[in-house]
Amino acid sequence: MMTSKMWVTMGPQHPFSHGLWTLKVKIDGEVITDAIPIIGYLHRGWEKECENRTYPQIIPMADRLCYSASMTWSHVYVMAVEEALGIEVPERAQYLRVVADEICRIQSHLMWLAAMGTDLGNLTVFLWSLREREMFLDLFVKLCGQRLTTNYPRIGGVRNDMPYLFERDCMRVVDLFEKRLWDIIALMDDSAIFLSRMQGVGRISRKEAANMGLTGPGMRGCGVNFDVRRDDPYEVYDLLDFEVPVHKDGDAYARYAVRIEEMFQSCEIIRQAMAQMPDGPVRIKVPRNVPAGSHFARIEDPRGEALMHLISDGTDKPYRLKVRSPIFVNVSGAKRMVLGTRMADVPAIMGTIDMCLGETDR
């Protein structure tokens, strides 16, 4: 019998692609024999745009790199500039940045969990996750005035101090969230259907993962024990006590489990940071012009390792700003992940990458 293979274009307008990207898959029946990821629908020339703006003006633009990790992106940018300026940020500002980072990490992971739920056909997980995420977005509203585009870190500190009663709100939200997260876990981890969809799907070995340059939960799900927060500490992460979850399996479930555990650890970090937070100023005045030089900073984004490479030339505008986006690298290995799986697994596997096209295409 003659069989022929068929190219199916998934995206850019397709329910599985959370954002504008395309995965062309070649299917033999339902089994995928080839795949081509295509990106670039959202290329804005972000790095070039930044060469025309002064250093403070880039912070709100860095928020726009990723809709759900805006805090970490502006954070890594100001870290790169502070590196170039060679200044030390006040300690309270560092703690505030850590708190905001972890809130951002939780809400980003919840957004991922929601998308994961719809990818697997479970709308309940979607809505429950978004309900929890709303609490963290409310915290962002109180802290920095907006839900998604936080614009909170500043070169030399943060925008403002904690508002009145923010600490109490934060503790309440974190406690409530930890309680409710077990409900979502019960919905997913205790369900045989969910486990059968996730376990053993999209397996990557540790060597492949390292070679592909995977970072973040995708990498830790493959057994690589590395976290920028712990092994290359920035801000005050070396003063905080937290675990880095590592899973050996390297399948979609491992990536899921690592992310869930990271949310618990982030709650713990928020608690510790709030308890340890010293009094003091939150922002120092910095010179307008950045001395010439080439500097970079890296940070643990919710999706992986975010790196910004800044080349300054002594003026008040950067000469070149390069963004190393974790998803940009992770999605380049999409072919390897989906090869040999079934078409129905594509959303499950690509869902665990946690796509965000703003930072991928820049």
Partner: protein, 246 residues
């Protein structure tokens, strides 16, 4: 700190009834939500509570504004433009006009405003029928209802102050940074004094030139100056330069 979740899962679901736990979980939640009210906010009819420092569109307290143009300079999207308006009480003044369609709600204008005239407003329903509708002139921008204490400030501290141990007094750039005069470049053209929005520059005679005419140099009143840099920009001979205090 201990691992909280990964040492408990994955469990053997075959021993836990495959699908019973999720069934019970959803049923529990269904009972709960039937008793209390669902968390959804029915948007057009009811709105979420948002604080006063929510970064919606920029607002303007018309009387406080001095027309210095710092907001225009700081705006990342160049959506702010200083326009001349004819005000009944104040006469002809320069005030910012915001193209809200281009505004990215970063709040820099409110943050860097030296006189707290620009504010952020909790006004986020900004749709209009044309693009011209979205260009808010200074009167449309007016916003007076910000709760006292909820304004957005620039909470900068001088590193030199911190080194001295002064940590309770935020010092913004407009309080310490001042234009610095390079005397030999000045040609006494008086443009800086004319353009200064807060009348902080006074031309004072410092001597006579070879022809016997007086040489006037600008003298900057530190208490009035807000460091808007307009004099630096307008100076034809670059005789004024930025003097940053750190």
């Amino acid at each position: 700190m201990a691992i909280k979740y990964m040492d408990k899962y994955p469990k053997n679901v075959a021993l836990r009834g495959w699908i019973l736990k999720p069934f019970l979980t959803t049923f529990k939640n269904m009972i709960k939500t039937t008793i209390h009210r669902p968390v959804t906010i029915m948007y057009p009819y009811e709105k979420e509570w948002i604080p006063d420092n929510y970064r919606g569109r920029p607002g303007l307290v018309f009387e406080k504004c001095v027309g210095c143009g710092i907001c225009e300079r700081m705006c990342p999207t160049t959506c702010i433009e200083l326009v001349e308006v004819e005000d009944e009480a104040l006469g002809k003044v320069k005030r910012p006009q915001v193209n809200v369609g281009r505004c990215m709600m970063c709040g820099y204008c409110a943050e860097y405003c030296p006189v707290e005239a620009m504010t952020v407003t909790p006004d986020y329903e900004l749709a209009g029928y044309t693009r011209e509708d979205l260009i808010y002139d200074p009167y449309q921008l007016k916003w007076e209802n910000t709760t006292i204490g909820m304004e957005v400030h620039l909470e900068e501290h001088l590193p030199s102050n911190l080194a001295k141990g002064v940590t309770d007094k935020p010092t913004a750039f407009y309080e310490v940074d001042r234009p610095k005069l390079i005397g030999e470049k000045c040609i006494s053209c008086n443009r800086c004094a004319k353009t200064c929005p807060v009348d902080a520059i006074e031309m004072i005679v410092v001597g006579e030139n070879a022809k016997g005419k007086p040489i006037k140099h600008p003298k900057i009143d530190d208490s009035k100056c807000v460091f808007c840099e307009q004099c630096i920009v307008i100076c034809p001979k670059d005789a004024l330069e930025i003097n940053e205090v750190l």
